[in-house]
């Protein structure tokens, strides 16, 4: 019997994980989403500095339409709506991201632990997240925020974060349950790894995409919630955000007064941010599950110039004759 060494001819596979990570950014949807998100993040940082006016500052231009001086027009107090939207971006982004981070951390703690541990502890945690899942978010938030004495941006963010982790926890638990049975987790255990290390180093890294998409989902949720709360008048008191702008527009019956400019910019900003976040999420989804990838071209040109669509069950045929350069048939 011969021991055949398999070394030497191993085909080196080119780029390491780097390329895999980059592929996410290469996804056009994710790119567009990230660019828009970056734009909003930038505005969140520099918004208050570049705002042409104090967003609460009154002027004598009462309720004026968009003009060179006031790009988005003014309010009934002569406040500059453009400045309000610019300054309001920070609160929106802070709430979105702080809530996202808090909820994500909680969902990881609850979800992964309850997924990995077996037995009563796991059941309790799972029941806990189910209870939180059953509690309706918006009404709960209305109650909680309307009862907190101080509802600054950060408070709102924390409250949203503390109440919206359940969905993520449920998804993570399911994922962890499936990962727990994976051979590499068992193998790590057989090697003698501690449970904590298994959770942190073997399971968590493999949940990155799920966590990321949960994070983005929570950000969308938190942003919408903050704006909604502000719109019905129980959001962050003193801070400007897009919801506050809309709240003022609504309480001053802007649309009835014909002051469309008071409503439209903030609404579009919300929709745009929401879209950007959704796009990032699609990007993550497609990254995780390659089947969803649009995969660039799906339409193929055949040799005789027709266009056919790739579809399951009917493989396109580009040319029905054997290729000439293949082999000559004498």
């Amino acid at each position: 019997m011969t021991v055949v060494p398999t070394t030497g001819t191993a085909t080196p596979v080119a780029a390491p994980v780097k390329r895999r990570r980059l592929r996410f950014v290469a996804n056009p949807k994710a790119t567009v989403g990230l660019v828009i998100l970056g734009f909003f993040a930038l505005v969140a940082v520099i918004g208050p500095w570049i705002a042409p006016y104090d967003p609460s500052g009154r002027s004598n231009d009462l309720l004026q339409g968009p003009s060179a001086a006031h790009w988005f027009g003014t309010t009934h107090l002569g406040q500059d709506i453009f400045s309000q939207v610019l300054v309001g971006t920070r609160s929106v982004m802070v709430v979105g991201f702080v809530a996202g981070i808090v909820a994500t951390i909680l969902s990881i703690l609850v979800g992964v632990t309850s997924g990995y541990l077996a037995g009563a502890g796991s059941e309790v945690l799972s029941a806990l997240s189910n209870v939180f899942l059953v509690l309706p978010a918006l009404p709960l938030m209305i109650i909680i925020t309307s009862t907190l004495p101080e509802t600054g941006t950060l408070t709102i963010a924390l409250v949203i974060g503390l109440t919206s982790w359940a969905w993520g926890a449920r998804v993570l638990r399911a994922q962890t349950l499936s990962l727990r049975g994976r051979d590499y987790v068992e193998a790590a255990r057989a090697t003698g790894e501690k449970s904590s290390r298994i959770i942190l180093f073997e399971i968590l890294p493999n949940l990155t995409a799920v966590i990321a998409s949960g994070f983005v989902g929570t950000v969308i949720f938190a942003v919408t919630l903050e704006i909604t709360l502000a719109f019905i008048g129980i959001g962050a008191g003193g801070d400007w955000n897009w919801g506050t702008v809309l709240y003022w527009a609504q309480s001053q019956q802007a649309l009835a007064q014909g002051a469309w400019w008071w409503f439209v910019p903030a609404g579009l900003a919300i929709a745009l941010l929401g879209t950007a976040l959704s796009l990032v999420n699609f990007g993550i989804d497609e990254f995780v599950s390659p089947r969803l990838r649009g995969g660039g071209k799906t339409n193929v040109k055949t040799a005789d110039g027709h266009t056919v669509r790739m579809r399951v069950g009917f493989t396109p045929v580009l040319a029905t004759k054997a290729r000439s350069e293949g082999r000559e048939t004498p």
């Binding site: 209305i142 719109f231 019905i232 649309l255 009835a256 609404g267 799906t298 399951v312």
Partner: protein
């Protein structure tokens, strides 16, 4: 069988936990219904009224939170939800009875419709991946990112008016009495169209997307390829092989969303002044009307649980793998 038993135990536990949370949260917070009532009236009610209101609402007697809790649980078990403060002394059950049908009618029907239409569209788009239909996805994403209330307000601003077919608020024409006659039903339908469309447009996108993604995933399953290989018609493969299986994961999502009807579309009810539970809840919160809040939360919780239970049952019916017999 044990599956259902286990689920039922789970539902009971969750219901209990949610009810308990619903009880405590409003109570650990500052403010009381009397203060809220006085504050809201902004001088239209004299400050002397405070004492009489405490007496009226029965808040002048001190009862510990725990005592109150057990009284509440006891009442709940006997089906008594207490008296509302906002509409004192109307029983909460009566208040809920006024709001629930509208919420179920408008929001319930549109949520179901949104799911059905969204799923149908998602099926088509997912099946014909790569065709023009894909262009719908970015559009629906954008539309679904618009908050409900904004869409509703714009719709009201653009489409309603003195001569418009669409009324701006309410559930039926003023002066009509709910009665199963043509005039009333016509009026209800007319009032429902705009809010219904708002909900449809915002909620459909999610279903389109998840169904499309599931279709794409399922379409590359072997059994779909086998169905093609069997020479079945395109329709049959799409409906009976791909969509039928792709639907399964959406069932539980749909159940959850059914439960969120009340909470989720509160804004639609506010914007369109639709006399449903959402609007009541909003008012109850403002008025510190614990009994009413609790009542509405109870309904929400029970409906989420019921929806989940139905989803479980539907799952049993739809996915034979969960049916373990023998």
């Amino acid at each position: 069988m044990s599956y259902l038993l286990k689920r039922i135990a789970f539902y009971l536990f969750t219901a209990w936990a949610a009810i308990t949370i619903n009880f405590f949260i409003p109570r650990v917070i500052p403010g009381d219904p009397v203060q809220a009532l006085i504050t809201r009236s902004r001088g239209q009610m004299t400050s002397e009224a405070v004492q009489s209101l405490y007496v009226l609402f029965g808040l002048d007697k001190d009862a510990s939170l725990v005592e109150q809790y057990f009284t509440y649980l006891g009442q709940l078990l006997s089906g008594d939800l207490g008296l509302s403060f906002t509409y004192f002394p109307s029983p909460v059950s009566q208040v809920l009875g006024d709001g629930l049908p509208w919420t179920l009618g408008l929001v319930g029907i549109t949520t179901v419709l949104g799911f059905l239409i969204g799923t149908a569209l998602g099926t088509g788009i997912g099946w014909r991946r790569g065709s023009w239909a894909d262009a719908l996805i970015p559009v629906t994403t954008f539309v679904s990112s618009i908050p409900y209330f904004w869409l509703g307000l714009i719709a009201i601003a653009l489409l309603t008016g003195p001569d418009s077919f669409f009324p701006a608020s309410g559930a039926y024409d003023n002066g009509l009495v709910p009665n199963p006659d043509l005039q009333f039903i016509g009026s209800v339908l007319r009032h429902g169209i705009l809010p219904a469309f708002t909900i449809l447009i915002s909620s459909m996108a999610g279903w389109i997307l998840s169904m499309r993604n599931m279709m794409v995933t399922v379409a590359s399953e072997d059994y779909v390829t086998v169905a093609h290989a069997k020479g079945l018609s395109d329709r049959r493969v799409m409906v009976s092989y791909a969509a039928r299986n792709a639907l399964l994961p959406n069932v539980s999502g749909f159940a959850l969303s059914l439960g969120f009807i009340v909470g989720g579309t509160l804004l639609v009810e506010i914007v369109f002044s639709y006399p449903g539970l959402g609007l009541q809840l909003f008012q109850a919160v403002g008025a510190k009307d614990y009994p009413l809040m609790q009542g509405i939360f109870l309904i929400i919780t029970l409906s989420v649980l019921l929806a989940n239970f139905l989803a479980d049952v539907a799952y049993l019916a739809l996915d034979p793998r969960t049916r373990r017999e023998g």
